[in-house]
């Protein structure tokens, strides 16, 4: 039951955007307290990150490049090279975190893995905040 609560909190924190992301991450951080992450938790985190962040990032990247002074809109969907680069930078940190959590689970350090996943959830919130600021939240 506890596992389900953590995994649900994680997916919600990954799937939601805007201010609710912060609330969801806080709930996730609370759920992590004293928790031991399993292989299933790491897999669920990776899969939901793939669906809600990595895939939209790929969609965004294939849009035509915004011209100087142009910003993303429904009328003129385009990708901002600076935003894309920053977003990918955050993604690198998230992947490193997930990889670290994976190694910890493999080595039986499930408590450590839960802590790392809390850090990952915060990083994802940071990335989503970046996207919100850039006005491209619609890609989520």
């Amino acid at each position: 039951m506890r596992r389900f609560n953590l995994a649900t909190a994680l997916i919600v924190s990954l799937a939601l955007g805007g201010c609710s992301t912060v609330d969801a991450v806080n709930k996730f951080n609370n759920a992590v307290q004293g928790y031991e992450a399993t292989q299933g938790d790491v897999d669920a985190a990776r899969q939901s990150y793939n669906a809600t962040v990595l895939t939209p990032m790929l969609h965004y990247s294939v849009l035509p490049r915004c011209k100087t002074g142009q910003t993303f809109s429904f009328q003129i969907p385009c990708h901002d090279r600076v935003i894309l680069k920053k977003w990918r930078g955050v993604d690198r940190e998230v992947v490193a975190g997930l990889d670290r959590a994976q190694v910890m689970v493999r080595n039986g350090n499930n408590k450590g893995a839960a802590g790392v996943m809390a850090t990952v959830a915060n990083l994802i919130a940071t990335g989503k905040g970046l996207v919100q600021q850039a006005g491209i939240a619609t890609v989520f």
Binding site: F4, D43, A51, L58, R88
Partner: protein, 74 residues
């Protein structure tokens, strides 16, 4: 018109617009994440490898795009 019907139509429209903005490939991935989280699906090492390979492929495409951006002069 029945208010409940209107609400249903509004919900359907908002879900459809969300699906369009996220892309059609997202829905099965979210379902899979849900299945893993609830323990209905347990990944094998091969499944995990396949997931990592797919991610690597996606990141390679994004990185190629970033490299294009860096090389562009517009």
């Amino acid at each position: 018109m029945d208010p409940a019907l209107i609400a249903n139509i509004e919900l359907a429209i908002s879900l459809a617009s969300k699906a369009i903005s996220l892309g059609i490939d997202v829905a099965p991935k979210l379902k899979r994440a849900y299945d893993i989280a609830t323990g209905r699906l347990v990944l094998t090492d091969a499944d995990r490898e396949a997931m990592l390979a797919e991610e690597a492929q996606m990141r390679a495409r994004i990185d190629a795009r970033i490299a294009e951006d860096d090389a562009a002069t517009d």
